[in-house]
């Protein structure tokens, strides 16, 4: 059985990694995945191919599976209110069905 869940995706600046991770944990999510990303947004082109002396320009993408929409919105709101006036960022939510994932589904499996 697949367990229905929400996938919350946050694309933002790498400098916020630790702060957003702690928001996600405090919201009660069991875990998250972080990817290094690049791309083009309304603020600038962010690519990993540019010569870079510091990490400030790198982007990351969080993927969080939450059991319900409330938790996802809670995380999204906190992140948006705290950071998105001053930092580049984008949040979207998708429907997901978890097939395997012990920690997410529970000891009996999905």
């Amino acid at each position: 059985m697949a367990k229905p869940a929400k996938k919350l995706v946050i694309v933002t600046e790498k400098i916020l990694l630790k702060k957003i991770a702690s928001i996600i944990e405090e919201a009660g999510a069991t875990g998250y995945t972080v990817l290094e990303t690049g791309g083009k947004g309304s603020r600038n082109v962010r690519s990993t191919g540019q010569p870079n002396v510091s990490d400030t320009q790198a982007n990351i993408k969080f993927e969080v599976l939450t059991p319900d929409r409330d938790m996802a919105e809670n995380i999204a709101d906190q992140v948006a209110v705290k950071f998105f006036l001053d930092f580049a960022g984008m949040i979207y939510i998708c429907d997901a069905e978890v097939l395997y994932g012990h920690s997410f589904c529970g000891p009996e499996g999905c």
Binding site: R43, V53, A88, Y92
Partner: protein, 406 residues
């Protein structure tokens, strides 16, 4: 006349030296659209190697010297680091079209120290066999940390004052909209002239459009209310600027931790063999690669800088000289009172004229998030650093030779 000839000679020498040569080379190939990429990981290891080398030589020197000599130059470094921020606060911030927060952040970045500029200066002093205290490199953190801390504290005091004024003048609704306007006015306009209000709109639409009415507590009208609660929480947090986390953050930054580790190892252990066989011989080669990257970086930032006020260009050309001369003057006091060498005075002046490119920007981005990074990183990397390396280093060496020869 003497000074001019010294300066010109040093300048020509500097042009031919690998340091500036690679810097200009990097700018040229970036301007020609070269696809050359130096991987980020290599830049990080280079920064580590350079600063560890400077730290090691400093640590070894500290072990063999008495620390009392360091007190006055270190105190002067702190003074310069703090003064630089206030200079920016009361000059750059007053200029038209310059936002005060951006100006303070720029001041902080120019007050902070660039490891690569310092490494270039030390290399040139070695080449010209001008003696300097080997521990002079260890002055780095004494200027770097005070500058960043001062900038973040001053900026937050300013922002809180403004916020309180706004709160007193109008209702919370206006308070909510004013930062957004400010944001689109600067960063939005600077980064995306086509769709300035887009970032705020998109990010808030995503969360704001979500149909909460059916799911949980209450209506959609709940949403702005919770946002304002968050905002209030945020502002109450911001009212008190904690200094220790800023110091901690800069100490934990890659540049300073590499250097302080080097200093500690130099003092506590006997790293001479690894220093002589590994760190020292690689120093110049790695510096040349870093300079190439800095040149490419500088060129890629010029475009960003063009979008903010032109005053940043003026500031970032003039400021390195002003800051350097200030430090040079204080260094001369140490020279006459404590016997601080002329080479050491040059090092002090150069670290004052340099602006941070490695550890400073992330610290400021986190500490003053509302400042526009295009303004301060653009000013520092695109103009400040090339001016400091290309003009200020030969200028201060020439000045020191002129004074020293009299």
């Amino acid at each position: 006349m003497d000074f001019l000839s010294f300066f010109l000679m040093d300048f020509v020498k500097q042009l031919q030296s690998p340091t500036l040569g690679f810097l200009i080379g990097g700018m040229v190939i970036a301007a020609l659209g070269s696809e050359l990429v130096i991987p980020e990981a290599i830049c990080q290891i280079i920064v580590f190697m350079l600063l560890a080398r400077i730290g090691l030589s400093g640590g070894i020197a500290i072990r063999n010297s008495n620390l009392t000599e360091m007190i006055l130059p270190a105190a002067f470094s702190v003074v310069v680091g703090i003064l630089v921020v206030f200079i920016a606060r009361y000059t750059l911030a007053k200029l038209p079209k310059v936002k005060t927060v951006d100006a303070i952040a720029t001041g902080g970045l120019f007050g902070a120290v660039s490891g690569s500029t310092m490494a270039a200066a030390l290399t040139l002093l070695d080449e010209q066999s001008i003696p300097y205290e080997a521990w002079a490199g260890a002055l780095y953190p004494f200027m770097d940390i005070p500058a960043l801390v001062t900038a973040i504290v001053v900026a937050n005091i300013y922002l809180n004052k403004k916020k309180r004024k706004a709160a007193g003048a109008s209702l919370s609704k206006q308070e909510y909209s004013s930062p957004a306007e400010e944001y689109t006015g600067t960063a939005g306009a600077a980064l995306s002239p086509a769709g300035a209000p887009l970032p705020v709109g998109t990010s808030f639409n995503i969360t704001g459009d979500s149909p909460t009415a059916g799911t949980s507590s209450g209506s959609a009208g709940d949403y702005p209310a919770t946002r304002q609660e968050y905002r209030k929480q945020k502002s109450s947090e911001d009212n008190r600027v904690k200094i220790w986390p800023i110091v901690q953050e800069s100490l934990q930054g890659p540049a300073l931790s590499a250097m302080l580790l080097g200093v500690a190892l130099g003092i506590l252990t006997r790293p001479e063999s690894v220093y002589e066989s590994f760190y020292d011989p690689l120093f110049r080669g790695l510096l040349s690669i870093l300079m190439l990257v800095m040149g490419m970086e500088a060129w890629s930032r010029i475009g960003e800088l063009r979008k903010v006020a032109q005053w940043y260009v003026v500031y970032s050309i003039v400021a390195p000289f002003v800051h350097g001369l200030l430090a040079f003057g204080l260094g001369m006091i140490a020279h006459y009172t404590m016997g601080f060498s002329m080479g050491g005075v040059v090092v002090l002046a150069v670290i004052a004229s340099s602006s941070s490119d490695i550890s400073g920007p992330p610290t400021l981005r986190a500490g003053i998030p509302s400042a526009n990074p295009s303004a301060y990183i653009g000013a520092s990397t695109a103009i400040g650093t090339p001016v400091a390396i290309g003009l200020c280093i030969p200028f201060f060496i020439g000045l020191a030779q002129t004074i020293g020869s009299n």
